[in-house]
Amino acid sequence: MKNWEGDEDEFCTAEEDYKDALAVCDHLGLPLRSVSFSQEYWDTVFKYFIDEYKRGRTPNPDVLCNREVKFKAFMDYALELGAEKIATGHYSIIDESNGGFKLLKGLDPGKDQSYFLYLLGQDALSKSMFPIGEIEKIDVRKLAEESGLVNHAKKDSTGVCFIGEQKFFKEFLKKYIPTNPGLIETTDGKECGKHDGLMYYTMGQRKGLGIGGGYGKQEAPWFVAEKDLDRNVLIVAQGHSHSSLYHKQLMADQVHWINGSVPENLSGISAKIRYRQADQICEITELSVNKCTVRFDKPQFAITPGQSIVFYHGNECLGGAVIENRSFH
């Protein structure tokens, strides 16, 4: 499926990816169809992505892409053609029991992708298969090599899919959002530099601040601690352990539960506030249909508005929400 079209060809590996897919399908004797969902992607994912950046937040387009494009537009297309299920290469496991469908973490702890799938519901899971979820990635590559697939050693894809490598990110965003440069201040209000626009920075970011290591008494690096949208000021803190970089509590909205309703037992849960983070012990202290407040056992580094918090009960992914705000206590 092709979900992006436009003048970003310089960043885009779609044509090469298509050739790899064709080689693999040809080798396996499978029909390959190419279909474009670029309109759907633009309407349901990209507009939101840009709006979130305009609000100074750091959105996660991949979770939306899964819900709106892969497990909706693409699934509808496959069903229309007569498919019963779709199979994707996500490192996760679907467990069917008692007529319900649970989403479990993939076997490979380093590759588990349940974080990106927390917006799926029962209907989508009932029509999906994740055939490599129970295999370690290294074994998937081995299997691919043994089967003679040309892409067995292909580099893992990283970054936002339609932008490509991270180094293009700033250039890309500039095309869609006007830049609004401003000042950088330390947590105690001292001016220490200039920023190119708050949208280019994310919580906890260390690189690219342009603050000389020599500023301040210590040589410790600087990190983004806060964005003051009203004053268009980026606030930075020195040293990874600086207290302003850690919060114990967050508020999130757009709550979604995979089984369709609030799980009966929410005690003993944990959460991830970013992909590949270790599970963090937490407690949902307030919960309504749409919103929740979450308290962590340990203070969390760089809780980032716009990113998703995803809840787990052991290996089961329960659902999640989009981080709205955070507080120290």
Partner: protein, 371 residues
């Protein structure tokens, strides 16, 4: 597997394949070499040239072998760069092998008038006449369109070119082997042909260039093809093309009546099975066996994939565009709405298709798009 996409390409005729294999196995000499092997290869090429010239009633020296129809088109269009008259008139339903080239030429000072077509895909000769400027150096209008099969009023269009003494080029890749074509009748100055559209091999074609008309080479090097196209000749491809053209010419009336019969069966059944289907193009002037049909309310990519699953191969829009479903510019130029445009399939029959297959195709369509 029923294949209904002969406007995209055709399977190689067994006799053509035999010819090519014989040549490839036995004759490797470079046609430019003076020894026996070279002379033999040269003789094979010249024989193919004579065969092709005979088929379209041209003189052998008017046939230039190329790497296909696209290259032939490019040769003619790029010649404008060195012409004093740098304006060209073309139509809005040309193949990208014309329109994309003209886009590329524009910043180099080649201006272009793109003529509209009517709702049947035909150019009005009166509009052509009005578009001619004092610096018009070329008129390029395809003889028949690949997507809708519409045949242009080519004789009237050429008359206008003759009257104003402007070279006339026609992209004729879709026509040879489907309708009568001779340069005695169609007095164009240039015509582009492709072997793989008439059961010949891919990667080989030819340009007809009327004696006396000037042409600049695109590919420069050795002196092959009368210095018009450098590079050691594709001997087996050219001999295969010669055989394909000979077969097309000898069997033309048989092939035409076969395609007409298939078309009649297809359309009769279609009217019965798919009540809402709309046939696009010009009923009175079109290539036999090339039919564009819209199925309102159904997306062509879905229909195409469903037919593909049954092993029935058809096309939507142009075969060159892959992946996304974009409205066809040809149908757009005919004033067809976007919603009808993206619900359009093209069926193009060939010599191997049977009436039974045509009926099977309609049955499948009736199942997928009978609303």
């Amino acid at each position: 597997m029923p294949y209904f996409d002969h406007s995209a390409t055709t399977p190689i005729h067994p006799k053509v394949l035999k010819k090519m294999m014989d040549v490839a196995q036995q004759h490797f000499g470079n046609p430019s070499s003076v020894h026996a092997s070279g002379r033999k290869s040269k003789a094979i090429i010249e024989k193919a040239r004579r065969t092709i010239a005979t088929a379209i009633l041209a003189s052998p020296s008017e046939i230039i072998f190329t790497g296909g129809g696209t290259e032939a088109n490019n040769m003619v269009l790029w010649t404008l760069i060195q012409s004093e008259k740098k304006h060209i008139v073309t139509s809005s339903i040309e193949h990208p092998a014309i329109l994309t080239v003209l886009e590329k030429l524009e910043p180099m000072g080649i201006s272009c008038t793109v003529l509209p077509v009517n709702d049947q895909g035909r150019v009005d000769p009166k509009i052509l006449e009005k578009s001619i400027q004092s610096n018009t150096g070329l008129i390029s209008i395809m003889m028949a369109n690949n997507e809708i099969g519409t045949i242009q009023p080519i004789l009237e269009l050429i008359d206008i070119a003759l009257k104003h003494d402007i070279p006339f080029h026609s992209d004729t890749v879709q026509t040879l082997g489907k309708i009568p074509l001779s340069v005695q009748n169609i007095q164009a100055d240039f015509m582009s042909f492709s072997a793989h559209k008439l059961y010949g091999p891919k990667g080989v074609g030819f340009l007809y260039k009327k004696k006396g008309r000037s042409l600049n080479p695109l590919i420069i090097g050795g002196g092959q093809e009368g210095k018009h196209r450098a590079g050691t000749e594709n001997i087996s491809g050219i001999s295969g093309m010669g055989e394909a053209v000979r077969l097309a010419s000898e069997n033309l009336s048989k092939r035409m009546s076969h395609l007409e019969a298939l078309e009649t069966v297809f359309i009769t059944h279609l009217n019965r099975e798919c009540h809402n289907a709309v046939i696009n193009g010009c009923p009175n002037h079109h290539l036999p066996g090339v039919i564009s049909v819209s199925f309102p309310g159904y997306k062509s990519d879905i229909l195409l994939a469903k037919l593909d699953r049954l092993g029935m191969e058809v096309s939507n829009g142009s075969a060159c565009g892959s992946g996304s479903i974009k409205p066809s510019p040809v149908l757009e130029a005919m004033g067809i709405s976007d919603s009808q445009n993206i619900s359009t399939l093209r069926f193009s029959f060939g010599r191997d298709n049977t009436e039974k297959e045509a009926i099977q195709l309609v049955k499948a369509l009736g199942q997928f798009a009978n609303g």
